[in-house]
């Protein structure tokens, strides 16, 4: 037989949720700022802070983080053009503009930033064909479409862009398999699918998605170990527990994956000694995978974790406060009955 690309979960892998350890891990992360690894990742620091704070909030531990220090930091990262950079002295980009707005939304304090300038910055990134550039240098990617509308949605300023054109561009990135890539003609990828379904949710255009077809592609991401990959013949990775799962939730097909097997996989990715989650069992942990492991568990209904919003990856109670309720598709009579949809994770290995 063929070896399927997958991991094997050892019998002694963690099977209980170690929330306290994860909170301790995040609270202590980055306290040694001279660390070489920390410098290496400074180019995405704003997103790193968003990952850390969001997972702490989901675990009910946000108060352990230093709100004032973070707010001051964000303020010093807004540039004259209105955009926000990943860290002080770095160049602005829509990715970090979104992360900054998400962080400040957790604290209900978006006015630390000049909001009008943020809106202008995002508006200025939209192209004639409806796509969004990431920054003034012009790279186009559906990720940036998502960042743009998510930022504006949190600020209540979705009217600032040409939504019809924006939708037109994202739809032009839909592939024959129902998935989405980074640009028209690009390969379907779970991360891009998350961005595009999230985008369409915010834009109120989820009906344009072929939910059965896409749902099928997404549930084919589940492997015998229970973990999810991002594309065919890739290894499972805990971050796809978020992107694939959230996408399924958005399109109303989350019940198409084997939830208990996925849960076991995610739990196995914990590190019992250091706290935190790694991409797959036994690997090094980091805040990125820690957020998506916890958020994935939340989507699976884990009682000890707050409900997470699948579109914005933020606690539902924060969005409730903002009055934000992005659309989700509900499950209606499918073209392809779920029972027939082939689910490899439930079949035995040869």
């Amino acid at each position: 037989g063929t070896q399927v690309k997958d991991v094997v979960i050892k019998s002694d892998a963690p099977s209980a949720l170690l929330l306290d350890k994860h909170a301790d891990y995040i609270a202590a992360y980055g306290s040694k700022k001279d660390d070489y690894e920390y410098t290496l990742s400074e180019y995405l620091r704003m997103s790193g802070i968003y990952w850390g704070l969001t997972v702490m909030d989901l675990m009910g531990q946000l108060t352990r983080m230093n709100q004032q220090e973070i707010s001051d930091f964000i303020k010093s990262c807004q540039h004259d053009c209105g955009g926000v950079s990943a860290s002080i002295g770095h160049d602005p980009h829509v990715l970090y503009t979104l992360s900054a707005v998400q962080i400040l939304s957790l604290y209900d304090n978006v006015n630390v930033l000049d909001v009008d300038k943020v809106v202008e910055y995002v508006r200025g990134l939209q192209q004639e064909d409806g796509s969004f550039a990431g920054d003034k240098w012009g790279e186009i990617d559906t990720r940036f479409s998502f960042c743009a509308v998510a930022t504006l949605a949190l600020l209540g300023r979705l009217d600032a862009i040409n939504m019809d054109k924006a939708v037109e561009f994202v739809l032009s990135c839909m592939n024959f398999d129902g998935g989405f890539g980074c640009r028209p003609g690009s390969e379907s990828h779970a991360g891009q699918i998350y961005c595009c379904t999230g985008f369409l949710s915010i834009a109120g255009q989820l009906h344009q998605v072929n939910a059965d077809l896409l749902g099928w592609w997404l549930c084919e991401r589940q492997l015998p170990s229970g973990g999810l990959n991002g594309r065919p013949e890739k290894l499972p990775d805990v971050c796809y527990s978020w992107w694939v799962l959230a996408s399924l939730k958005i399109i109303g097909r989350i019940h198409w994956i084997d939830k208990s097997k996925l849960r076991s996989f995610i739990l196995a990715c914990q590190d019992e000694e250091t706290g935190g989650f790694a991409d797959r069992p036994g690997d090094m942990v980091d805040p990125f995978h820690t957020l998506f492991g916890v958020a994935g568990l939340s989507l699976l209904g884990e009682g000890q974790i707050k409900d997470v919003n699948p579109v914005l990856c933020m606690p539902e109670d924060v969005l409730e406060r903002l009055g934000l309720h992005p659309d989700l598709l509900s499950y209606s009579t499918p073209l392809v009955p779920a029972a027939i949809v082939f689910n490899r994770s439930s079949s035995s290995m040869s």
Binding site: T2, D177, E233
Partner: protein, 478 residues
Amino acid sequence: MAESEEEDVLVQRVVKDINNAFKRNPNIDEIGLILCPEARYNRSPIVLVENKLGVESWCVKFLLPYVHNKLLLYRQRKQWLDREALVDITCTLLLLNSDFTTAWNVRKELLQCGALNPERDLYLGKLALTKFPKSPETWIHRRWVLQQVLRECSPSSSDRKEQRDSGLRDAAERTRLSERLHRVLHDEMKVCADAASRYPSNYNAWSHRIWVLQNMAQGNLKVLHDELSSMREWVSMHVSDHSGFHYRQFLLKALVRELSQSMHHHHAPWPSPGSSSPRSPSPEPQPGHPHHQANGEATAAAPCLSPATPEDQSSVPAVPQLFHQEMELCTDLIQSFPGHETLWCHRRHVFYLWHHWRRDHDHHDGQGCGSESPQLNHTGAGLSSYPHTASPRGVGLDRVESRNGQTQEGQNAMEVDGVGVPDPRDTKRLKRGPPDPYPPALPSEHGFIASVLDGCRSHEQGCFALAYRKWLDSVIGQ
């Protein structure tokens, strides 16, 4: 404090050593970290052996923070750095941390003011990719640089001064620019191929490759077909590489689009200058893009490679044959390498493209699939450039299916080899001859699935065959 001064001196030496290495050997083709926990007395941590540049790991923890902070001080206007220093510092930084976006942006600015030339910058990116073949920021920066090159090679954006003097660019200049584009395109394909080999299913490398063709070789049949041919061997040795196979799907789709347009003699108005704007890269080749026109004229609007000649065009197989060849390749690989999801995904995609092309093609014909000589009403360049599109290959399917829906016919269509490029002299004969074996049809696909399941020893292979059947039933066979 003396210790940190010592560190500064050391680090500055190292930065100099790195840049001297490049000056000494302009052919460095790979960079890497040498695991070496301690400094050797008085010896540079920069090691150059043949064309490989190594950095001993002990110095990196001093080196990176130093150059990192220096660049940021410059960015915040707290410390001035001249252009040469910026080139050196960003070079060192990006070889250690190629996702440091701001460092790439500094290099964009150096390029804009002429302190750096695009080819040099592309070279740095190429090196960075030998160490970090996925690096998103490296690929992103690369696309920006390529857009600058495209702009430089574009006749429409030529120096206004030049246009005032002695009129427009002459043929020699156009040739020079076209050659430059060819070189750059060729290099890009190599960089993508290298990165794809260094990391399995490298999404960023392959999506970049697609971007390059979409923006630097729109509708160029020769390039598209050459790529399809040259990738055959690679994908056969990388049967799990979903991105590699997706690239073939992209090529097929682009080829089919171009060929179909020529067949239907579809000419849209020439694209306006705005449509080739670098800031909004065109999605797939637009209808009626003039690059493939037989007269070989470049558009006024966009930079381009020398367009495919009529000889190039006629060496590209007809659409049905392209699909047949692809399905054959897929069948071979599925049978040789059981249990690879990628191969079955590829089959789905190719069949889908074929199915829809046939449907659209029949619709266009206006006379359905039943006639024996479908293309006689197409005139001029279409026929003469594509003699074999007039073959009855575009005809056979419905007749196959109408024969009591027997799969026999279909299976013969799958198995027959030697659907070679027909001799143009045979065109007339072929039009009236017996139906040639036809590429994929639903019956033949179900036959294929049955043959796979029969005696299948790989559990996964069986599962994928069943999933393919389900997909055919639910997505295709409505």
